[in-house]
């Protein structure tokens, strides 16, 4: 075998976590190659010109939790990452009114007063508590989950340090955390607010990527994510990457390359080779073989353990855990190229709000009804939507005077009754455009091109099993030391030299990068111990 195909480490999948992992390994002096099946890197964080002249952030569309330490370590700003703040979140209401929350704190307060004086006051206290809780939870994002099934010394040390951290919290914080981890977003918010659209819009962040409704227990804790992003202090909570979310991936890739990592596109991995419980190399789809003593999988747990590897190489309880790991996709994406700026009837004309987000979540019942459709195997006829107009934030996304619109849509079950086909994809796209047209009268006539991604499309095009955007549902029993399986939540696998670094590991999904970084840390620990 030629020396060219021998590496110190091979990373399977060029999504953001794979790239981050490779960058850290390369930084430590390893000869690393990233193998990406598609013609471009980024996985679900890609910018593509599907319609000439118009750039779509095809799937993932905002930056929220990207760890500041990663931005610093990998010098992502130097490598082209610019995050533009979002001005606002507007929730258009059926009667022609709207509920707005703005980057400007006082403006938000005035706006909330307009809807409910009580909520405007509660919003302050709520924010304070959530900041405290976010601070309490944040250290967990940087911890390798302990193995509680058969704890070793290292695991006990982790537990001890977590216990110590726990002791620094106040009684009120501990109680609120307990409630936050177990309650539904709607119930949790009910204790604070009365304004339905406010509760709906806030609880919507708790259902993104889940197959649950806002009244389902376990949806409250995601409310914290928003605030965790905010205390990082580097960027505002939700930002837009200049050039689209693909630029996040490009910046990481550029950083990795500058440290000597090799990135191969159009290089899908067929399988991972293991012998006597030790990893050997990978076989590419074309049949080529690459070897390395360390192989890292950035793809989801189902693919990692059930497809890349021969499950016969793995202990049965692990494959059983992975088989029942829930990874139901529940969302879709619609990208539009528009001939003119969309106008919202609740806020006529051009304004700062165009540089913010729009949330179609007029009431908690609206979201629940959307969920009901999905429970019984259909897409939501009136879906929840989280919308950006990237070209209004970054004019480079579309030709002058023209626009692109990014619409995250929920719910769209992977297991739709009868299966997804072209007709259903079109009907799904129509439901989105029809619903949105109720709030944006000029939308339909402005559409030049429409891209509709169903969960099946996300599986086929981006390799997300069942189209789940988080590589596995973020339900309580699939978090921390359960992610993706008890005893295998420390990025290692039963195969020596074979590691996992995707969102299917702690702390999970979103363009956060922590799994890629923590996995690199564990790998380097094993190599240099």
């Amino acid at each position: 075998m030629s020396k060219a195909n021998q590496y110190d480490a091979i990373v399977v999948g060029g999504g953001h976590n794979g790239l981050i992992n490779a960058a850290y390994l390369a930084r430590a002096g390893l000869r690393v190659v990233v193998l990406e099946r598609r013609h471009l890197v980024g996985g679900a964080a890609v910018t593509e010109e599907i319609f000439p002249g118009y750039k779509y952030s095809v799937a993932s569309y905002v930056v929220s939790l990207l760890r500041p330490s990663i931005i610093r370590d990998l010098e992502l700003v130097k490598h082209g990452l610019t995050i533009l703040p979002l001005e606002s979140t507007i929730t258009p209401l059926p009667g022609g009114d709207y509920l707005g929350r703005w980057a400007d704190h006082d403006q938000t307060r005035r706006e909330l007063y307009r809807h409910s004086a009580r909520d405007a006051d509660a919003y302050e206290d709520f924010g304070t508590l959530m900041f405290q809780l976010a601070r309490a939870v944040k250290p967990l994002l940087g911890v390798v989950p302990p193995n509680v099934a058969s704890p070793g010394l290292r695991d006990l040390r982790t537990l001890l340090s977590l216990g110590k951290h726990g002791r620094s919290l106040s009684r009120q914080e501990v109680h609120a955390l307990f409630k936050l981890m177990t309650m539904s977003a709607a119930d949790f918010l009910d204790e604070w607010f009365e304004c339905d659209p406010l509760k709906a819009t806030m609880s919507a962040s708790g259902i993104i990527g889940t197959f649950l409704g806002p009244r389902s227990p376990g949806t409250a804790y995601v409310l914290l994510h928003h605030y965790i992003g905010e205390i990082d202090g580097v960027f505002r909570a939700w930002g837009f990457a200049k050039g689209g979310n693909g630029m996040v991936s490009e910046a990481i890739a550029s950083s990795a390359r500058s440290r000597g990592a090799e990135i191969r596109t159009n290089a899908g991995v067929e399988s991972v080779l293991a012998k006597n419980g030790r990893v050997q190399g990978v076989v590419l789809e074309g049949g080529d073989t690459l070897t390395a003593p360390t192989i890292v999988s950035g793809v989801d747990p189902k693919r990692t353990f059930l497809q890349l590897l021969d499950p016969g190489e793995l202990p049965e309880d692990l494959t059983a855990s992975i088989r029942r790991f829930r990874i139901r996709g529940s969302s879709g994406k619609v990208n539009l190229a528009l001939g003119e700026l969309p106008e919202f009837s609740c806020l006529p004309g051009r304004g700062a709000h165009h540089r913010g987000a729009f949330s179609i979540s007029p009431s908690v019942n609206y979201l629940e009804r959307a969920y009901d459709d999905a429970k019984y195997g259909g897409f939501s006829r009136k879906p929840y939507m989280d919308i950006l107009i990237p070209s209004a934030i970054d004019p480079g996304m579309a030709p002058p005077g023209r626009h692109v619109m990014s619409i995250f849509v929920q719910y769209a079950p992977f297991d739709i009754e009868g299966g997804w086909d072209d007709a259903k994809r079109d009907a799904f796209g129509d439901a989105v455009v029809d619903t949105l047209s109720e709030y944006v009268p000029n939308l339909r006539d402005a559409i030049l091109h429409r891209q509709v991604l169903t969960p099946l499309d996300m599986q086929e095009e981006m390799g997300l099993t069942e189209g789940n955007i988080f590589h596995g549902e973020l339900s309580l029993q699939q978090l921390f030391f359960f992610r993706p399986a008890p005893a295998w939540s420390d990025y290692r696998t039963p195969i020596r030299g074979f590691y996992q670094c995707g969102s299917g590991t702690h702390p999970g999904g979103g363009v956060c990068g922590a799994p890629g970084r923590l996995a690199a840390r564990e790998i380097l620990k094993d190599l240099y111990k």
Partner: protein
């Protein structure tokens, strides 16, 4: 009048707590609003000759330690436990029959799915293991969930050791199961609608959630504690469920407790130091006591009977945030004779099969609960109605011919059918519960049952409906919640009734809680009452030592 301890409410938990305290030598007075003891374990003669269980018509099991300590068996309570225990008729014909014998039940499941039948014994073993681990948790005080100080660390360690003893793997597995939805739990094992729907119905009882909601797997396991590995295990008492209260009354009285029926408590009296000193009755009469133990729900006790000035505003706010959301109703029918179940296909072969209509009918006539929950989707859709503030159009029903095992409950040849119905939300989207709505609910239940027992409507001699508001009034249940607080994950263990107050004490010194609204929650098992008494006795001993 003075006592060592006064107990508010002679529900089963109040009686159990009172009995334990009296046995320890305390002078105990138990005060009850109604004219009969037992609380929700109530049997009333609604029509001459018909003894009807107007509250609960089944229990899984009295906690074995409570039964042993109080010598329940010697006190004359006779528990009847039918086998088979559940008959779940299916829309496509046939019925799923669950009984005590795993192999026999598997034989019946085979009719619906070969694969599910094969997995049944293994499933029972796994659930029994999880229930065993859970019952270990039920036998301890939940940790305080506060900033762990020295004492709490010790308790946490003890809990860890206790869990470790049941097996670390089992403990981790339980931790995985608890937050799951029952849909997900059952999905890991079974494929057939019949099995999943029937089992899911036991996991949503008393909560305003559907089987697809996270945390319902916990409720399934909660029902398995004390069930000796039998899904759907049900027991009733000879003479009606009211016999439970009467038996516990006899036990408490024999131990020296005094029980006063027909007396409402107006308030808990508190001295200047914020210590409970006794109670004041609606009549104005006072009973002084060193300890006050409330079997009323936590909200009613602390917000209704204690002066609001005694509580910190945050604590009061947390109390008002306890979710009750009653969703149950009861429908009681007096029947001219036992109803026949619909023949499935009329052929002789069906009647002879272990799951045929013949076997199903026989089981119901032997006391099995007739469960209407043919699929998860059926149950979830019933919940959808409640979610938007409407009673279920097609409700989930657990109906028992209580006279099957105990013919003495009705005149010769006649029968009583008691149905627990879900979902009937306490808070309606439009208006309030009233008689017309209750009758409409009664109609819906009779017509749902008539799908499987077509002649039922013609057999009804009397009908009585208790909606959630009716249950709330009759049994002083908060918003009609049968468990004194929804058993959702945030409101169990450390969180029951409130985070930081899961150990039967309250901010008012010497005022304790012992109802189903405390750990480990609802079900007629006596655990909260016994645990509260243990806590009081420990404090009592400590106090005496201090005074010495």
């Amino acid at each position: 009048m003075t006592a060592d301890a006064v107990v508010i409410g002679a529900g089963h938990n109040g009686l159990v707590a009172g009995a334990y305290l009296a046995r320890a030598g305390l002078r105990v007075v138990i005060v009850e609003r109604r004219r009969a003891p037992g609380g929700c374990a109530a049997t009333e003669e609604l029509w001459p000759g018909y003894q009807v269980d107007t509250g609960a018509h089944s229990l899984v099991a009295i906690d074995s330690r409570v039964a042993r300590d109080l010598r329940l068996a010697d006190a004359g309570a006779e528990f009847l436990s039918p086998d088979p225990c559940i008959v779940s008729p299916q829309e496509g014909g046939g019925a799923l029959i669950l009984g005590h014998d795993a192999a026999r039940t598997a034989g019946c499941i085979r009719r619906f799915s070969e694969r599910d039948a094969a997995r049944w014994p293994e499933f029972l073993a796994a659930m029994s293991r999880a229930a065993r681990t859970l019952s270990a948790l039920y036998a301890t005080l939940p940790p305080k969930l506060a900033v762990p100080g020295r004492g709490e660390v010790g308790e946490l360690l003890r809990l860890a050791v206790r869990l470790g003893r049941t097996g670390r793997r089992d403990a981790v597995e339980l931790l995985r199961l608890i937050p799951m939805s029952v849909d997900e739990l059952l999905g890991e094992w079974f494929g057939s609608d019949a099995v999943k729907g029937t089992l899911a119905a036991t996991a949503i009882r008393g909560i305003c959630q559907g089987p697809m909601a996270p945390g319902t797997a916990y409720m399934f396991l909660h029902q398995m504690v004390g069930a000796d590995g039998v899904v759907g295990r049900r027991r009733q008492l000879r003479g009606g469920m009211g016999a439970l209260g009467e038996t516990l009354q006899r036990i408490a009285e024999a131990a020296g407790a005094e029980i006063r029926l027909g007396r409402s408590v107006k308030s808990v009296t508190v001295d200047d130091d914020g210590r409970a000193t006794g109670i004041e009755l609606a009549s104005g009469k006072r009973i002084a006591a060193r300890y006050v133990i409330s079997g009323a729900d936590p909200g009613q006790t602390l917000l209704g009977m204690v002066d609001s000035g005694e509580l910190a505003p945050e604590f009061s706010r947390a109390l008002t945030n306890i979710r009750y959301r009653g969703v149950c109703a009861k429908v009681h029918l007096a029947l001219a004779r036992a109803p026949r179940l619909r023949g499935v296909d009329g052929s002789g072969a069906d009647a002879a099969s272990p799951c045929g209509s013949g076997a199903a009918e026989e089981a119901v006539l032997a006391g099995a609960a007739l469960t209407i929950a043919p699929s998860i989707e059926y149950v979830e859709r019933a919940y959808d109605d409640a979610k938007y503030g409407r009673p279920s159009e097609s409700p989930v029903i657990d109906a028992v011919l209580t006279t099957a095992l105990d013919p003495g409950l009705a005149p010769e040849g006649r029968h009583v059918l008691s149905a627990l119905v879900q979902y009937a939300p306490f808070s309606l989207a439009d208006g309030q519960w009233n008689e017309a709505r209750e009758e409409a609910l009664g109609d819906a239940v009779v017509s749902a049952l008539a799908t499987y027992a077509p002649e039922l409507p013609n057999l009804i001699v009397h009908r009585h409906v208790l909606g959630p508001a009716g249950l709330a009034r009759r049994f002083a249940l908060p918003e009609g919640n049968i468990y004194h607080g929804e058993m959702t994950l945030d409101q169990v263990f450390f969180g029951r009734p409130l985070a930081g107050w899961a150990r039967y004490r309250t901010p008012v010194e010497n005022l304790y809680l012992c109802s189903a609204g405390t750990h480990p929650g609802g079900g007629l098992d006596g655990r909260p009452g016994a645990a509260a008494a243990a806590r009081i006795l420990r404090d009592h001993k400590r106090g005496r030592r201090r005074n010495r």
